[in-house]
Amino acid sequence: MKIATDVDRCVGAGQCVLAEPAVFDQDESDGTVVLLTDSVDGETAERVREATHICPAQALSILD
């Protein structure tokens, strides 16, 4: 599964980091999302789906 982020929309809530810290991190200065990997599978993919759902800025998307 491929993940894409829209940094312009991101409001730095950190919900993605709480959902899956192995995939998401936050920029130190402005809190925006940093993708540690853009391709995941298995249980990690499930948690990424949840992150996509709870992201308040709807800044995450799943490409396939």
Binding site: V11, G12, D25, Q26, D30, P56
Partner: protein
């Protein structure tokens, strides 16, 4: 509308959600606004940039008359719309990242341990609000912002006045003036000698960018101080009551510290103490839940109703700390979702993990329906919580 029992959302919410999920209601000010009660609709509205957060707009559906404040009050983050909001939020959100909050953990643990020492030293019965609920978030936000904790009585008093819906307009104005002038002086001092705290770092950052915006810093400090106090304090008090009233749930939490993360999310969902922070005004005609909301009309995204929507949660009125309620809207949703949410999560996790382990015999000294609830406050909670433990 009043809460039932005294936790559950007003019964009217269930009726509205089932029969009329997007409906016109009359506010105490006599104005009309739309009330949204479905989880899906509240989320959709909050994520839609066509709904404005400008609380200073005369069209904004406030519950209290704020005309006097409008002329002078500099809007803070919660009241900003694009394009101002994004850069203003980004300037400060780096201070609240998950990693930054994790780095604060040991210090917050110390603060919580000290608060519990003070509670135990006070002797039975003691007020949990005085010894734990208020001092923990207050100390944490003061240290983070660089505001002297010695002045906490002063700003606690004024921030409760602001949040109480029954405060007269002139008293509200006075509370704003006093807090603004206090923070103005503090920021002037920090401009002369920037300290290593959130406000000091903002000054340094702004200076690097060219100019220090004194007024904006006062307004930011004001927001963080008020928002950082009462909200977490009330969640500590209410969460303690709920866990003590549900011994099966408390046992789950005590048996597995890993559950605390989910327990905190569930308690946030269950109480949704700031249910009207999610109020907006439409700037264009927008359809929500099949109803056309016209430009200029106010909308109450009733987050407490949304968080008790059976379409989003099975048995929504039951406390189930294992359910994993991470998609709740107790911190709002969209671009304005609470800036301090991860700080609040951290404080709540540490308090609940520590309190029930260190004070295993903790009990409430009054029937829960006789406790002193904040029924007229913008943020729901408890004025006091008498407890004993031996």
């Amino acid at each position: 509308m009043e809460r039932r029992c005294p936790y559950a959302p007003p019964a009217e919410y269930d009726e509205l959600r089932a029969e009329n999920p997007v409906t016109k209601v009359e506010l105490p000010t006599g104005r009309q606004a739309w009330a949204l009660t479905r989880h899906e609709d509240v989320r959709a509205m909050l994520a839609d940039p066509r709904f404005s957060s400008d609380r200073m707009s005369p069209q904004f559906p406030t519950l209290v008359d704020n005309t006097q404040l409008r002329s002078t009050f500099r809007p803070s983050l919660i009241s900003m719309d694009p394009p101002e909001h994004g850069p203003a939020r980004r300037a400060v959100v780096g201070e609240f990242t998950v990693r930054r909050m994790e780095a604060l953990r040991p210090r917050i643990q110390e603060i919580v341990d000290q608060a519990i020492d003070d509670l135990l030293a006070a002797g039975e019965p003691a007020d949990l609000v005085t010894h734990v609920s208020l001092p923990v978030p207050s100390l944490v936000i003061c240290e983070q912002l660089g505001v002297p904790y010695a002045d906490h009585d002063f700003f606690q008093q004024h921030s409760s006045k602001l949040l109480n819906r029954e405060t007269a307009q002139e008293d509200r104005r006075d509370a704003v003036d006093q807090l603004t002038s206090y923070l103005g002086k503090l920021i002037t001092e920090k401009e002369a000698a920037p300290t290593d705290d959130l406000l000091g770092r903002q000054i340094v950052k702004q200076r690097e960018e060219g100019k220090v915006d004194h007024e904006a810093l006062v307004s930011l400090a004001f927001l963080l101080l008020v928002a950082g106090h009462e909200t977490t304090a009330n969640m500590i008090s209410l969460g303690t009551v709920a866990l003590l009233e549900h011994p099966d749930q408390l046992a789950l939490l005590l048996n597995d510290p890993g559950v605390t993360l989910n327990a905190v999310e569930e308690l946030l969902r269950y109480f949704t103490i700031a249910e009207l922070a999610t109020t907006r005004v439409a700037t264009e005609d927008v359809e929500i839940g099949g109803v056309l909301i016209r430009a200029g009309e106010g909308v109450l995204g009733l987050s407490n109703a949304a968080n008790h929507d059976p379409a989003a949660y099975d048995r929504p009125d039951e406390l189930d700390i294992a359910r994993g309620a991470r998609n709740h809207v107790a911190f709002g949703f969209g671009a304005h979702q609470c800036l301090g949410q991860n700080l609040a999560r951290m404080e709540l996790q540490i308090v609940f993990d520590t309190l029930f382990r260190r004070v295993p015999g903790l009990r409430i000294e009054k029937p829960i329906d006789e406790l002193d609830y904040k029924r007229n406050s913008t943020v729901y909670g408890l004025h006091s919580l008498p407890v004993a433990w031996s």
